[in-house]
């Protein structure tokens, strides 16, 4: 950012003739920004942008101030305007960060890929891209991205940790274990415990996962994603109240944690706090647009609230895209019966029976010993 400010100083000189004394305003803006008087800084930058709309650095500084204020929508607009005037990987990285912070992970990924094309050595962009992909559950993409980077920089702990996370979540526990071993070379750590817990989680050893995650919490409770997994382990070992506290803890540190938003939504739905549940689920959907699991949960809340038309529409749309989604067929059957659409309800139940019979047949074939 401060590099931009230096550039802006130079650019602003060009406009020294302006009646409002842009240099003085610019200095005031920087001073206000440095001292955390963000509203004042934003106002001054806006004044300058109004007079000098084609100076990209002014717009990117305004974007940075707005982002620091939490006004990501306007920050994104300013960054986009700045980038139209001048392609600057650092501004694009800021734009990606603004998307990331506003839970638009897909757009953040798009920008980060452009940053990586323009500046392949930008470590921050690579790490943020990996983090974004992890948030979307795109573990294979993270493995592909980080494997060569980690080989080139084998002691980079951030690469090791993120790559280990992606490998384990992708089901490659053997390679994941190698990453855990590398982390453990430096002694026990929350990162290693989280990865060990995640590995056990993936093979349904929930009590084993819980023990590791508890230890991780003791070592570094601020580790991103830790409380989310801890909450899931608590949930799957029967401690719903503890799980809820853990998800709330994760979300207090990272409001855009997908799993914590989803699980909080499900827990609140179970407690029939449907309005609060919907808020979490809508946010989860903002993080992962189109996610079937979240959309299904929202549809079941619509069903519980008696909004049959909404529930029906959402479930039908889910099934159009994912016709094997068993639970969606089950709920859609219920919706149809409540709408007195008996034939449609019976058709959905028949589909459920067909899906279950197919699964049963597959399992029976798999269970037969090889001759």
């Amino acid at each position: 950012m401060y590099r931009s400010l230096v550039i802006l100083c130079a650019c602003a000189c060009l406009y020294a003739q302006a009646p409002s004394d842009p240099q003085a305003i610019f200095k005031q803006a920087i001073e206000a920004q440095k001292n955390g008087r963000l509203e004042e800084a934003a106002g001054l930058y806006q004044q300058l942008v109004k007079s000098y709309p084609n100076i990209p650095e002014l717009r990117s500084n305004l974007g940075a101030t707005l982002a620091a204020e939490g006004n990501y929508a306007e920050a994104i607009r300013q960054y986009q305007s700045a980038l139209k005037l001048k392609a600057d990987p650092q501004v694009r990285l800021n734009l990606a960060l603004a998307y990331y912070k506003s839970a638009d992970i897909s757009s953040a990924i798009g920008e980060l890929k452009q940053v990586r094309s323009a500046a392949p050595g930008n470590v921050q962009a690579a790490l943020l891209l990996a983090d974004c992909d992890l948030r979307l559950g795109r573990n294979a993409e993270v493995v592909a991205l980080l494997t060569p980077l980690q080989r080139a920089d084998p002691d980079n702990r951030a690469y090791i940790y993120l790559l280990g996370t992606a490998l384990i979540r992708n089901g490659d526990s053997a390679q994941g274990q190698l990453m855990i071993d590398r982390i453990l070379k430096n002694g026990d750590s929350a990162e290693a415990r989280l990865l060990m817990g995640t590995t056990k989680f993936m093979v349904s050893d929930f009590s084993g996962a819980l023990a590791d995650l508890q230890k991780a919490v003791e070592l570094n409770p601020k580790l991103p994603d830790l409380y989310s997994y801890y909450g899931q382990a608590l949930l799957l070992t029967g401690d719903q109240a503890g799980a809820r506290r853990a998800f709330e803890q994760e979300l207090s540190m990272d409001p855009n944690n997908f799993d914590s938003n989803l699980r909080m939504g499900v827990l609140l739905k179970q407690d029939q706090e449907n309005e609060r549940a919907l808020a979490y689920l809508q946010h989860a959907l903002q993080i992962r647009p189109g996610d079937f699991g979240v959309r299904y949960q929202i549809a079941t809340i619509e069903l519980a609230n008696g909004n049959l038309q909404h529930a029906q529409q959402e479930l039908e749309e889910i099934l159009a895209e994912s016709p094997q989604f068993l639970e969606a067929h089950v709920s859609l059957a219920t919706v149809y019966f409540r709408e007195k659409r008996k034939a449609d309800g019976e058709r959905e139940r028949a589909l459920v029976a067909k899906l279950n019979a197919a699964r049963q047949a597959t399992n029976e074939v798999a269970a037969k010993p090889v001759q």
Partner: protein
Amino acid sequence: MTAVVFALLASLPAAAFGPALRECANCHPAQAKPHPASAMAQALEPASSGALLQSHRSLAFKSGAFSYRIERHGNESIYTVTDGGQTISTPLLWSFGAGSLGQTYVYSWGGQLYQSRVSFYRALDGLDFTMGARNSNPKDLTEAAGLRMSKDDQVQCFSCHATHAAQGRNPDLLHMTPGVQCERCHGETGNHLAGLQSGNAAQAHLNSLHSLSTEGQSNFCGGCHRTWDQIASSPGLGVLNVRFQPYRLTNSKCYDVDDRRIACTACHDPHQPLSHDAAAYDRQCQACHAGGKPSAHACKVAATGCSGCHMPKVEVPDAHHSFTDHQIRIVRANAPYPE
């Protein structure tokens, strides 16, 4: 706090939980009088007063390193589990199940409620693993003795085996009445009585299963016996799902959401002990299959004993009992159990 509550529970006399049935019986004797003998009414009883535990004064079971005993001492049945070194010994608080098939017990340990790892089975006249516990691998004596019940577990278990066992999502074991009593299905009777006294018909209204559609009944009874939705969404249970009658019945070809002849109460009166009279069930089948419904064909093999062929008994591993499969169908030889 929890420990105090359970200590209180353990010390309360059984009479404190006696069913408030008398007032209902004044006006509804046909339903209220036979009800106490039903399995529904006996779905839960204090271990201190349970007939089964009184008649079985000493029960024992051993598995690997762990030995289990339930022994009667005065009004208490003491559950003792030992690995030969350490021992857990505590009075049983609650008996789940009428005992006609079996009973599972709940006890308090360390201020928490636990479900016993062993249960009584009528077919064995003794103890064996509680369903689902055989393959568990206890890490310590506490786990070997039983499974800790979370708050949600308590709400789910007690709410189906007792009346007024929960306040919202919280268990309320102090104020519950053991067993499925009138108000468990029909709702609060206070307003009903007040409405009757004041002549206010709207206030006197009570929930009635007969006012529900077949689908509505299936979902209502399924609140405890599991609904089609619940089980259909969790496939892979195999023959274990035979115990979930509303799900099985809904899968029947003859199930019709609008036809009351296939509703739960068409065959079962929840106020009465379960009928084992096959002829009584035949009448329900013939209500459709003897010309009452054009799409329902008459059986070419027999006119009686319908349920014997079309609702076969299915042995459930570890339950030591064969359950009637409510998925009514033509059963083919060697056909797999339709999940």
